[in-house]
């Protein structure tokens, strides 16, 4: 076993043959199923049980995503995780990484399907993310034995496992010829739900998604849409529907929060729309940010988290 990637403290590996009870039967629906899967997790039984029982949603998209796309991906995954779903993706840069990170933020388990051995998650830039996935009860999954290096030609094969594990595949941003579309092709063949996030017609990264929608894919504008698409699965109560953790806010902070509930705004725009001085707006924003009610989005804009 190579010591190249620092394994999480308590993570352990297991090889599961396809016939193993722990492997979800969905995987056998593949026309060319792998003989088995290598799984690494700090909580092997927990993560395998989650894959068998909870809604499993694949969130995939281009490596070269826009900031707005990445923000949306994080939010979507975080909400999915908060609703009890397992988010599956491929640990690639861009949308994949945002999907895993969002799921961790939402407090959920997330599974990364690798095109390399589970002992050397790639790309290296996401090694920290991989460690985070393990730490939080998620898993790394691969059909290749330890020591296998990632290779481009393995990506489509990896994608078929993502499609097979998931109940639904959501494509956030994808250009016309994207690997994500391989995943959706396989998912369609297997009868999985395929959803796409609509994008502006002028965006390079919207083409693939909009083409999917034109071809009949369901529109995904948030976790709610995914839950609606997969009824009958074990969805948790949507958070926020019963009593928010956030206390009501008054004064400038309250006005700022109310304005942000409508759309993300810059500090300048907030000062304008709440008719408050810039210094007070900045002060209120930082306080809300510390409380976790507001985060910074792209381009110096702020948005409400709740």
């Amino acid at each position: 076993m190579s010591g190249a990637a620092p394994p999480a403290a308590a993570a352990s590996d297991r090889y599961l043959r396809l016939a193993d009870q722990a492997v979800p039967a969905r995987l056998t629906h593949l026309p060319d199923p792998p003989p088995g899967l290598f799984v690494r997790s700090a909580d092997l039984d927990g993560v395998l049980a989650a894959i068998r029982q909870a809604p499993v949603v694949a969130v995939v998209g281009t490596r070269r995503a826009t900031r707005a796309g990445l923000d949306f991906t994080r939010r979507l995954s975080s909400e999915l995780a908060a609703r009890g779903a397992v988010v599956v993706s491929g640990l690639a840069l861009g949308v994949d990484a945002a999907a895993h990170a969002g799921a961790l933020e939402g407090g959920g388990r997330t599974v990364a399907v690798l095109a390399s051995g589970v002992d050397r998650p790639s790309p290296v830039r996401n090694a920290g993310l991989a460690a985070g996935i393990l730490e939080r009860g998620g898993g790394l999954v691969s059909e290749y034995p330890a020591g296998t290096e990632a290779a481009r030609w393995r990506f489509p094969a990896r994608n078929r496992i993502i499609a097979a594990l998931a109940h639904a595949v959501v494509v956030v941003e994808a250009p016309e010829r994207s690997g994500s579309l391989i995943t959706t092709d396989i998912a369609l063949d297997m009868g999985r739900a395929v959803m796409a996030v609509p994008g502006p017609p002028w965006g390079r990264t919207s083409r693939g998604c909009n083409a999917l929608i034109r071809a009949g894919a369901a529109v995904c504008e948030g976790a709610e849409d995914v839950a609606d698409e997969l009824p009958g699965l074990d969805w948790a109560q949507a958070p926020g529907s019963g009593g928010s953790a956030h206390r009501p806010v008054e004064g400038t902070a309250g006005r700022v929060l109310a304005a942000l509930a409508v759309e993300p705004l810059t500090a300048d725009e907030l000062a304008e729309s709440t008719r408050t001085g810039t210094a007070d707006v900045l002060s209120a924003l930082a306080q809300l940010e510390v409380e976790g009610q507001v985060t910074e989005a792209a381009g110096g804009r702020y948005r409400a988290t709740a």
Binding site: R67, R74, L93, R125, G128, A267, A279, L282, A286, A298
Partner: protein, 513 residues
């Protein structure tokens, strides 16, 4: 003709210091010749031709003897054409065309034209100062340099038009208007019409506020935003927000600019705070100072003013690294093969950068076309010594059309400057002479005396926002300045919160990006 050794003094600029060069001329019998000794560089060697022509064309006799000019001390390298005038005067005295006693206690400096007229030299202010410190009776400087030399040198400075004019002054046939200069009066009548005003900047309220905080606490500032958002325009307005320079500051600044040869002919003083905006292709020596004999770099030319680095991520890492000492100590030590020199470099650093190489990473509408990793690698170039010293981070978004076109009077610099001045007064009143931006983390925490609520907020922030110790110190320094702007003895919750809004925001989204 009696053979005598004539001598007088000449001031030399050595880095940022001055030294006395003793100029001696001896006339020996023998074949006519002219030698200059005493470690002269090529420009000093060429003085022979200028002095010979100058003497002849001002109707003086060129002695038909072996002329030896010695520049002492011999170990000091003499550079530049500034020894023409003293050598010429010493020759006149040695050959009896000027009474040698006329040169007693006299220093002289100046480049001669072939017609015997005088040309300006660099560093005249420091030379006038040197004359006072060394108690010289008089110092002759080219007329164009006289105003700056008089800033400190006062009435001992005589402005000279030509070689003959110099002799007339020395022999008392003519009097020069050698009078002291009142720096305060010069500053009072300074022309500030060329200083850009905040009134002309539309929108960008957050960035305007950051400029005000920067000016009040001398906090360095980084503006991030897409091209065309107005970062440069904003930065240019910062010098006008700082309190006007007092006489001492103005003299310091003028001394640097004088040594660098940047004063206009006849200009007495640099009256407004400098704004230096070097291009990102600048070398390390150009930025921090250097050259064979050290000359001031941009950090020193921005002394008491603003150093603006646009496209900061495009600067050579080694050049940015050179900013460490100036930012920490307010001066820079330049060590070269020939000599070492220390220049003042107490400037306010303002950087501007695009969020990524293509500039659109932040644009919610247009998508960024940089390959993954590029934006992070690009921003990473700023990390380390420089970003550690940047207290204020502010986003400068591109304005929408209505914001640009919309009317309504914007606040003029004058009003902001008054608030800044009041904050500086308040800080001094607290018994703290040093600007908040230059406080150590410990001193800043001590000066902040946060109220309990502010303390709670800061503690939560460390936890929730993952502030590092250094980032925390920067927040405290800025919060102290915000409290000063509010004339509050202690840092309140809203000061702490606003300071948090100016923190560095990176790493928080590293996973997704």
């Amino acid at each position: 003709m009696p053979v005598v050794v004539a001598h007088l003094w000449s001031p030399a600029i050595v880095g940022f210091e001055t030294a006395t060069v003793d100029v001696e001329v001896d006339l020996r019998p023998g074949l006519p010749s002219f030698a200059i000794v005493g470690l002269p560089d090529a420009a000093v060697q060429e003085a022979r031709e200028r002095v010979r022509s100058g003497l002849a064309n001002q109707a003086y006799a060129v002695p038909a003897r072996r002329v030896v000019a010695n520049l002492a001390p011999a170990h000091l390298r003499k550079a530049g054409p500034q020894y023409d005038l003293p050598i010429a005067l010493a020759i006149l005295a040695a050959s009896g065309q000027v009474p040698p006693q006329a040169l007693a206690g006299v220093g002289a400096v100046g480049e001669l034209g072939l017609d015997g007229s005088l040309r300006r030299v660099d560093g005249a202010l420091a030379m006038g100062e040197h004359a006072i410190r060394e108690r010289w009776r008089l110092i002759l400087v080219p007329e164009q340099n006289a105003p700056e030399a008089r800033l400190v040198g006062g009435e001992r400075v005589l402005g000279v038009r030509s070689l003959r004019h110099a002799v007339d002054l020395l022999e008392g046939r003519e009097t020069a208007g050698g009078e002291a200069v009142d720096v305060a009066a010069l500053l009072a009548e300074r022309d500030v019409s060329g200083v850009p005003d905040l009134r002309d900047v539309r929108g960008q309220a957050a960035a305007r506020r950051a400029l005000e905080v920067s000016a009040a606490g001398r906090h360095s500032l980084l503006m991030t935003g897409p091209p065309g958002a107005g970062k440069t325009m904003l930065a240019r307005r910062l010098p006008g927000l700082l309190p006007p320079m007092g006489p001492e500051e103005a003299i310091e600044v003028t001394r640097v600019h004088s040594i660098a040869g940047l004063l206009e002919p006849g200009q007495a003083v640099v009256a407004t705070r400098p704004f230096r905006a070097p291009h990102h292709t600048i070398s390390t020596a150009g930025l921090v100072g250097g050259g064979r004999s050290p000359t001031p770099g941009e950090v020193s030319l921005a002394h008491r003013g603003v150093l603006f680095l646009d496209e900061v991520c495009a600067f050579a890492p080694s050049a940015l690294d050179g900013l460490r000492q100036p930012l920490e100590e307010g001066r820079v030590r330049v060590v070269r093969a020939m000599a070492a020199a220390t220049f003042p470099a107490d400037m306010l650093l303002v950087c501007a950068g695009n969020p990524c190489p293509c500039g659109n990473a932040d644009d919610p509408a247009g998508s960024c076309t940089c390959p993954p990793g590029r934006p992070e690698a690009y921003r990473g170039r700023l990390s380390g010594p420089v970003s550690d010293r940047i207290d204020l981070h502010v986003r400068v978004p591109r304005l929408t059309t209505d914001e640009v076109v919309g009317d309504g009077e914007c606040e003029p610099s004058q009003v902001v400057r008054e608030r800044v001045g009041a904050a500086v007064e308040f800080r001094r009143g607290r018994g703290q002479p040093m600007p908040n931006g230059q406080l150590s983390g410990r001193d800043a925490r001590h000066a902040a005396r946060p109220e309990p609520e502010a303390e709670r907020l800061l503690a939560t922030a460390i936890d929730r926002l993952g502030l590092s110790a250094r980032a925390f110190d920067r927040v405290v320094r800025v919060a102290r300045t915000l409290a000063d702007l509010d004339r509050a003895e202690r840092v309140g919750a809203r000061h702490a919160a606003e300071a948090l809004a100016y923190r560095e925001r990176e790493g928080s989204s590293a996973h997704a990006a």
